[in-house]
Symmetry: C3
Subunit: 345 residues, 3 copies
């Protein structure tokens, strides 16, 4: 199994066939959730979960995943660790990582924008752990990427365009239109989920449209990857400035608030300033009216949903909402990632 | 198994035969604690424990219970969740609950009076989770009820009036005299345990006496239920104002501090004011002298015990103290509840 | 199995043959880590971990140990418990311990110098738990001792002077020279690890040298035990005042910062004052130059390492560094302790 021992930091760094293998296993695990084929894969093994930022879904779904594979996920918070920082004595990441690799079969890390001094520093931290620990490092969301969310997203979309839960059709996603739209709200959200969604949608053969106000562009490298993915698949990638036209003909609508590229000032994430900036763009909300412009699109969101700002209740709880299915898929794709990278398959 | 999928929010909402079934299974589990009959009931399954308030016994006993049933209890604190409140954006209970139901086989919730704006709001929150989550919701103590404590109480009393640990006689409790007495102290305690004790004692055929200072009456609805339970069983229910006479002829003495009905002012639980009120009633302590008025009663308490205020050491650690047996029973009744409502029995 | 039910509070209170048995089992467990001989020893059992102080390695390694033995370690923090203190109402240790003994197969406790009013109070607390709980109490580091660290230390040294990982030779340690040297730094560290190292090195037949600045002597009782251990084995014990000469001819070098005997004033641990005192002794660092005076010694440290102050990177990450092996051994010795004191062997 060539994925054994491999880190999972961003989907773009895995080949398409590696992602396919992951998703194929996730679907089998979903169809037959407690099968004895899976329940001893991590038996008596420990997976460390390292939360620089707290979390709901990520903690719940990773800890469930380890349990369902027969293993145990340890919930760890670095605040309890005496880690070295720029200004305080403490343990180096080299030392922490090398010892953890002696105890555990894998290490998940979550670190978001408000815990780092500049964009990308969270992702760099993951890569520093990966450098020293010879066990797989799984990205449980950093300030750039959220690959497990991306996998859960595309699995959910493919189920809705396939034969339902556990029976996704990735073939049917090809040539479909994916809209990622910025959304109003006071949550000053990270780029990680939406950037991963761009990479995944483009990788799996969809046309990609981003709609956002001027000034809300994402990481240029992610745009470049998305563009390259679309080109390789013969699909289109475009960016629009208004909250309406992107919906035209869409098959999958993903709306979510996010911050500007100017979110860091003086080595700190300026949440308050970002909330104020976002206030200048009310009405970037996914409504039933806007959904009517689409080609009967499904609605997707990585949760938690800021209802009323990002999307109306009518859409979020409506008959074309994939949000709970996508959230459930976090469990299944994470089981598959853990099994492939750490398991005795 | 007709209890599969059922919520357990207050004992009064389960039929007597459902409670009997629960207690019968708890006793079997206690007699043969690690039997293979029980150890795979929750195998590879996750039970979420949701602690709005911290806890000792409840956390320990629920997490042990899941482990002994072969499953895993996840310890979750809502402070790590971005939940919507009256004043902040965040996730709705609908969204949180619906996703949790995809991951876990059950959800326990603990929320006490100091986390809610008015009496009953904690219980309402449990019912809101129950409305959205199609997995069992277990009450791990709210501001009104504590059904697992109630079950552990009555099992302990029935063991003391039966043939000992794991060999309770509920028949022998019928017609016995139960005294619930308010007690001095600076802990401003919740109503949940004592209200559940009233419901359970009356339900299982005991005569019920409450002794408390004027102004310390409990929830009128609980009094009404207790009264109805007693009447249905042909037993007596009475309330007395002094700290002595209630002991006369008692078989089970339960002493515990609690707050007045006026504990909430301006949407907040007024702990300090309640402690001051209680200071006006020193000497409401269970002593050996008072126990001498009883019919060789056992002493029971849901713990933690405020020794010196609620009860003297002589009684709490004496030969008729059931406190540790009752505490142990938390484990067994919770295993039984989880097995019946979530298990593959 | 005569260790069943036994507390492990300081290595000095176990006989040498009991320690030998523990270390023999630890090595077997390391050689064959996931053998089915070990993985059901704690099946369906709960081990409570009680952290008055947070921890990295201790928490990780104990929780892994329980998992690898088939059991579950519950992570508990006393701040969530309403325990009685000198000034607040709450639960007595008697009550807490007696109930925990009903739920769990063992209880680990960690309490360091900054959580207690005077030296030794942490150790006394462990003994109070041990008095009331009829399950084994394991010391996960207190203000005096850290027996699991001591066992991991000596196992690591014996592996380096034996045939490598899992193949220690305790015979080869006899007559070797052990240097414990105080080290510079701003961490104001506890005595527990270094005191346990003295006891263990002397117990296993090594000559012991302590080098430290005047005023940095450790617990006189530990010195007396170390002296007695050395004498019983026909070895030397000496204390030197300078940072250089102790290295001469050493086979195992252990450097670590620690506080003075005057660290407690007015019932509080004076961390800031201790850091200031330590600043008067820069240059007590283990360097390659100093290691050159030894008899090709290995370098050992209980971690976390304060690199640059306690030891240079060149030594800590050098070819004779045993630090990660020692850290790994925490897992194996703890599995062995748990198996012997709590398991169905």
């Amino acid at each position: 199994m060539d994925l054994y021992g491999k880190d999972f930091i961003v989907s773009q760094e895995w080949t398409k066939s590696q992602l396919d293998e992951l998703l194929e296993l996730a679907a089998r695990m979903k169809r037959d959730r407690y099968s004895s084929r899976w329940t001893s894969i991590l038996e008596h093994r420990t997976f460390f979960m390292f939360f620089y930022n707290p979390s709901v879904r990520t903690r719940q779904s990773f800890e469930c995943a380890a349990t369902e594979l027969g293993g145990h996920a340890q919930f760890l918070e670095p605040k309890a660790m005496r880690l070295k920082t720029a200004t305080t004595a403490g343990e180096t990441i080299e030392d922490a990582a090398k010892v953890m690799a002696r105890y555990a079969c894998g290490l998940g890390i979550r670190i978001l924008e408000d815990k780092v001094p500049h964009y990308g520093a969270g992702n760099e931290l993951l890569r520093e752990y990966a450098q020293w620990a010879d066990i797989p490092i799984l990205n449980m969301a950093d300030d750039r990427f959220h690959p497990c969310q991306g996998m859960a997203d595309v699995m959910g979309w493919a189920e809705w365009y396939g034969e339902g839960p556990g029976r996704p059709s990735y073939e049917n996603l090809k040539g479909k239109n994916f809209l990622l739209t910025w959304a109003s709200g006071a949550l000053a959200r990270s780029w990680c989920s939406v950037q991963e969604a761009l990479l995944v949608a483009s990788r799996f053969g969809m046309n990609v449209t981003i709609s956002r106000p001027e000034g809300y562009d994402l990481d240029p490298e992610v745009y470049a990857w998305t563009h390259a993915n679309c080109e390789a698949n013969g699909r289109d990638f475009c960016v629009v400035d208004d909250p309406e036209t992107g919906y035209d003909g869409a098959h999958v609508v993903y709306s979510r608030n996010w911050v500007t590229a100017g979110a860091y000032q003086d080595g700190e994430f300026q949440k308050k300033a970002e909330v104020e900036k976002a206030m200048a763009y009310p009405g970037w909300t996914t409504t039933a009216g806007r959904m009517a412009r689409t080609d009967n699109a499904i609605f997707t969101h990585p949760m938690p949903i800021d209802r009323g700002s990002e999307v109306t209740d009518e859409v979020a709880s409506g008959p074309r909402s994939a949000v709970y299915d996508v959230a459930e898929n976090r469990l299944h794709v994470q089981k598959a990632v853990m099994a492939l990278t750490m398991g005795n398959l």
